[in-house]
C-alpha cells in the first residue's frame, strides 16, 4: 500500500486548510416532496407496520418505509441502501433518531415495489438486511453504544446483546400489538451513552469488582489528585507503596465503598475494572422521555445483575421478554411501561413479571434515596 495524499501537507498544516464549516445544510438533502411541503403537513397514518403516510396541506403524500438497522454497518451495506434509494426513492433516504432507516416515496404505488425489494434482501446467515417495522405500538430499534466493539470501559458488549434481544422481540418490531411503543436501549457502562436512564426497558453494563491498581505505573500515567477526586463515594485516597525497593505514589481504594461506576478508570488508566466474573448487566425499566400523558420518567433498576453470556446472552433476553410479555398482557392501551408499573404499583410489577425483588433494588446512593422508600401504609398485598 502506498500512501495517497489527500492534498494535506503535514509540514504546513494551515495551508489551504478548511475548517469550521459545519455540516452541509439539510435542504440539499431533502426529497422533493419533503422540500415542497416542508412545514405544511396535516396529519399522518400508519398504513401497516413500518409504513407511514404523511399528508400535506397541498394534498401531497409521502410514504415512508422504515427498516431496522444494526447501526453498526459497513460501507458495503450503505452502498446497497443507496442503490435501493436510487432505484425507488429518487436518490434520498434518511436515518431516524433511533438508527432506523427510512425510504420515502411520493406515491402509494411506489410503496409495494420498494417493500418487495427490501424484503428480498438477506445476509448470508439468513438474517434480514432490511426488516420493515418499528412504527406505532412496537419495539423500534434498540438504542445502543460501543461495548467490546470499540470502547475501553464497557462492562458488557453492545451490538451482541442488542442483536440477541432484537431477535427475541422481533415479532414486536414487525407488528403493532403492544399497548404502546416500547423503547429498548443498551449502554455498555454507567457512562450511559445510550438513553438508558429514560427508556422503557434498558440494559446497562455494570462492573461488580473494584478497580485493580496498577501500582507500578500509576503515578506515571495518572494525576493522583484527579483519580482521588473522580470517586463519587470518596473511596479512593492517595497512598505510598514500595515496589522493588522504591517508594511509589499510588492510590488505595476502600473496596466496600466502591459502587463500580468506573469514573476513576476514566480518569486513570491504571485502575481497570473489567473482569469476566464481575461484569454483566443490570436491567432498568419504566423510563420515558415523551411528555405524553405523564411527565418524563427515569428508568428503575428491576434486575440488579444478569451475567454476561456471549454470544447470545440467553438470561438477559429471557428477562426482557418476560417483562415485555407481562406488560403486553396487562397494560392499558397507550400506557407506557413505566405508567403501567406505577398504576399497578411496583410491588405488583414484580409479581406479574415474576422477577424477584432483591435488596440491590432499594436505592442507597446519596440523600435522595430516602424519597424512593415508602412513606405510606398504602401498598398492595
Amino acid at each position: 500500500m502506498a500512501f495517497i495524499s489527500s492534498g494535506y501537507n503535514p509540514e504546513k498544516p494551515m495551508e489551504n486548510r478548511i475548517s469550521d464549516i459545519g455540516p452541509r445544510k439539510y435542504d440539499e438533502f431533502l426529497p422533493p416532496v419533503i422540500k415542497k411541503n416542508y412545514g405544511q403537513w396535516l396529519y399522518h397514518e400508519i398504513l401497516e407496520p413500518g409504513v407511514l403516510m404523511h399528508k400535506a396541506e397541498s394534498g401531497d403524500e409521502v410514504y415512508s418505509v422504515r427498516v431496522g438497522a444494526a447501526r453498526l454497518m459497513s460501507v458495503g451495506l450503505i452502498r446497497e441502501m443507496c442503490a435501493i434509494a436510487d432505484k425507488h426513492c429518487g436518490g434520498h433516504l434518511r436515518f431516524t433518531t433511533r438508527n432506523n432507516v427510512e425510504f420515502m416515496v411520493d406515491s402509494k404505488a411506489k410503496v409495494k415495489p420498494l417493500m418487495d425489494d427490501l424484503k428480498s434482501r438477506k445476509f448470508p446467515g439468513g438474517s434480514l438486511k432490511f426488516p420493515i417495522g418499528g412504527t406505532g405500538a412496537s419495539t423500534p430499534n434498540m438504542v445502543h453504544t460501543q461495548g467490546w466493539q470499540h470502547c475501553h470501559t464497557p462492562a458488557t458488549d453492545a451490538a451482541g446483546p442488542v442483536k440477541a434481544v432484537m431477535d427475541e422481540v422481533f415479532e414486536y418490531f414487525t407488528s403493532m400489538k403492544l399497548p404502546a411503543s416500547v423503547r429498548l436501549a443498551l449502554a455498555c457502562c454507567l457512562n450511559m451513552c445510550g438513553a438508558v436512564h429514560c427508556s422503557d426497558i434498558a440494559v446497562v453494563g455494570i462492573h461488580r469488582k473494584p478497580p485493580l491498581k496498577d501500582h507500578a505505573v500509576l503515578d506515571q500515567i495518572c494525576e493522583i489528585p484527579l483519580a482521588v477526586a473522580a470517586c463519587p463515594t470518596a473511596a479512593i485516597r492517595p497512598t505510598k507503596i514500595e515496589i522493588d525497593g522504591k517508594q511509589r505514589n499510588t492510590v488505595a481504594i476502600k473496596d466496600e465503598r466502591c459502587m463500580f461506576c468506573g469514573n476513576c478508570y476514566t480518569m486513570c488508566a491504571a485502575l481497570p475494572l473489567a473482569d469476566a466474573e464481575g461484569d454483566g448487566c443490570a436491567i432498568m425499566v419504566g423510563g420515558k422521555v415523551s411528555n405524553r400523558l405523564s411527565m418524563p420518567k427515569f428508568s428503575k433498576v428491576v434486575v440488579a445483575y444478569v451475567p454476561n453470556e456471549p454470544p447470545r446472552w440467553p438470561s438477559l433476553t429471557k428477562v426482557i421478554k418476560q417483562i415485555l410479555e407481562a406488560y403486553a398482557k396487562d397494560a392499558r392501551k397507550y400506557e407506557r411501561v413505566g405508567e403501567w408499573a406505577e398504576r399497578i404499583g411496583w410491588e405488583k410489577f414484580f409479581e406479574v413479571t415474576g422477577l424477584p425483588f432483591t435488596h440491590h433494588l432499594i436505592d442507597d446512593f446519596r440523600d435522595h434515596a430516602y424519597y424512593t422508600w415508602r412513606q405510606s401504609t398504602q401498598f398492595k398485598w
Binding site: S6, G22, H54, S74, T97, K129, F130, K163
Partner: protein, 436 residues
C-alpha cells in the same frame, strides 16, 4: 477462509434481526477480494482482525481496547476518538482503531451521492465500518490509523464540504428531530435551529473552552423524538400557547370508527371500538376535555400540552397556532451524582430564524458556566450545585411556579442581606435587651 475463527460471533448471524457479524464479514470479504483495486490506506484485513479481537472479547468477556488515546486533527480539540488495541501483535489490523465523528446534517436526510462519497473515503482510508449514527447524532466512522486522520479531514472539508462533529470538553454535535420536514406536530423548525446553532457555534464545537461537554438537542414538540430532555444539556422543545385547533367533523369520524385512533399505531391488536371517553377524556392529565357526544371542547387554560389527545386524533386536533419553544437545562448520564433530565428554565421563547432569543440564553449560560463550572462538571451539575434560581438570574428570567413541580418542602431559605435589612448588629445592643 477467514483469518480468525469466530465460532461465538458466528452465532450472531442467526435470527431475523440484521446481523452485524455477517455485515462485517461481508466487508472483510469485499476488502479481501478488492474488486475495485483500492489501494487501502489502512490494513486490508482490518475487519478480519476486528472480528478476531471481538471473538477474543467474547471469550474473555472483557474489552480489548486500551484506555484512551489522544489523537486528532490540527487546531481541533475534538471530532476524533483515539483507540488502540491491547493485543496489537495478534491483531495488527486494529492496532489503531480511531473513530472519526462526522457532523450529520439536520434531520439525517441524505442523498445517495453524499453517502457514496463518504463510503469512498472510508473504503480508502478507514475500516469500511461505521455507526449510522452515534448516540449523539454524528456519523461515526469506526476505525482508522493515526496517519489517516488529517487526510480524512482534508477530504471531508475539501471534497464533501462537511466538517467533523464534537468530542471532548466542547459543544457536541447538535441533533434534532425531523420536525417540520415531515411532522405535523412540529411547533418550530428544529432542523433550521439545529443548522443555525451548529453554524453559529463552530468555534465552541471544535475548540475545548468549556468545563466539560455540552450538548444541544432540539425536539419539535413535547413528544421528544430526539430525547432532548434526557440527553442534552440544553434542550429546546417545541410548544404552543394558543388553543388546540379542533375539527369537530373529524372527531366524529374517529368516534364513528372511520379514522383509526392514533393514526393506526395500535392496529396490531383488537382493542375494541374506539372509546373517546375512556381513551381520551378520562386520560387527559389536565382533565380539561369534554365530549358531549357530538362536540369536543377543551378548556385550554388547564391543558398541560401533553399531546395525548392530538396523538390519538391527529386528523381532528392540531397544536395551537401560536407556537414557540420551552428551554430546559441540564440533562446528563449518571456519572457522578446520578442521572438528570433537563429542568425547565424558559417556559416560552419564540423560535424563528435567526433564533436570536435562544442564542442569547445559550450565551448567557455559557458565560456563567465557564466562570463558575468546575473541571468536568456538566452544566446541570453546576446548576444543581448553585441552584435553579441562580440560573434564572443569569438568564434574566423571572422565577415562576412553572419552574418547579412543587415549591420547596424545607423552609431553609437563603435570605440575602438586601432583602432583610441590616445584618451587622452589635451584640452589645442585643445584650441590652437580653441578659446573658
Amino acid at each position: 477462509m477467514a483469518k480468525h475463527k469466530t465460532p461465538m460471533l458466528d452465532e450472531l448471524t442467526k435470527g431475523p434481526w440484521p446481523s452485524w457479524v455477517d455485515d462485517i464479514k461481508g466487508e472483510a470479504e469485499r476488502r479481501k477480494a478488492n474488486p475495485d483495486n483500492i489501494d487501502y490506506q489502512i490494513p486490508a484485513d482490518v475487519c478480519e482482525d476486528w472480528l478476531g479481537l471481538q471473538e477474543l472479547s467474547y471469550k474473555d468477556m472483557e474489552t480489548h481496547w486500551k484506555h484512551g488515546g489522544i489523537v486528532g486533527v490540527f487546531g481541533y480539540g475534538g471530532g476524533v476518538i483515539g483507540r488502540y488495541c491491547d493485543m496489537p501483535q495478534q491483531f495488527p489490523g486494529v492496532a489503531h482503531f480511531h473513530t472519526v465523528r462526522v457532523n450529520q446534517p439536520s434531520g439525517k436526510y441524505y442523498t445517495t451521492k453524499f453517502l457514496t462519497d463518504l463510503c469512498d473515503i472510508w473504503d480508502l482510508r478507514g475500516s469500511g465500518m461505521t455507526n449510522m449514527h452515534g448516540s449523539t447524532g454524528d456519523i461515526v466512522l469506526l476505525g482508522t490509523f493515526t496517519e489517516q486522520l488529517e487526510e480524512i479531514f482534508f477530504e471531508l472539508t475539501h471534497n464533501m464540504n462537511t466538517d467533523l462533529g464534537g468530542s471532548g470538553s466542547n459543544l457536541r454535535t447538535p441533533a434534532g428531530c425531523l420536525g417540520k420536514s415531515r411532522c405535523e406536530f412540529a411547533c418550530y423548525d428544529t432542523m433550521a435551529l439545529e443548522y443555525s446553532m451548529v453554524q453559529q457555534y463552530q468555534d465552541e464545537l471544535h475548540r475545548p473552552a468549556f468545563p466539560y461537554k455540552f450538548k444541544f438537542k432540539f425536539d419539535g414538540c413535547p413528544m421528544g423524538c430526539v430525547c432532548s430532555i434526557a440527553r442534552s444539556d440544553f434542550s429546546v422543545i417545541g410548544t404552543w400557547k394558543s388553543d388546540i385547533r379542533i375539527d369537530q367533523e373529524a372527531v366524529k369520524a374517529y368516534v364513528g370508527g372511520e379514522f383509526k385512533p392514533n393514526a393506526g399505531a395500535h392496529a396490531g391488536r383488537d382493542w375494541g371500538k374506539f372509546d373517546i371517553t375512556a381513551e381520551v377524556v378520562n386520560r387527559c392529565p389536565g382533565q380539561c376535555i369534554k365530549w358531549d357526544g357530538s362536540k369536543l371542547s377543551i378548556d385550554n387554560k388547564n391543558c398541560v400540552r401533553c399531546m395525548h389527545c392530538i396523538a390519538v386524533m391527529p386528523r381532528a386536533l392540531r397544536v395551537g397556532e401560536e407556537t414557540g419553544a420551552s428551554i430546559l437545562l441540564g440533562a446528563k448520564a449518571p456519572i457522578l451524582d446520578g442521572q438528570q433530565m433537563s429542568s425547565l428554565i424558559v417556559p416560552f421563547v419564540p423560535a424563528e430564524d435567526p433564533f436570536d432569543e435562544i442564542k442569547e440564553v445559550v450565551e448567557k449560560i455559557w458565560d456563567w458556566w465557564m466562570e463558575e463550572g468546575k473541571n468536568r462538571e456538566r452544566v446541570g451539575e453546576t446548576m444543581r450545585r448553585m441552584s435553579l434560581q441562580k440560573v434564572l438570574n443569569v438568564i434574566g428570567v423571572e422565577p415562576d411556579a412553572r419552574h418547579v413541580k412543587y415549591p420547596r418542602e424545607n423552609p431553609y431559605i437563603f435570605w440575602k442581606e438586601e432583602e432583610v435589612g441590616n445584618w451587622d448588629r452589635p451584640i452589645e445592643e442585643y445584650r441590652k435587651r437580653h441578659a446573658r
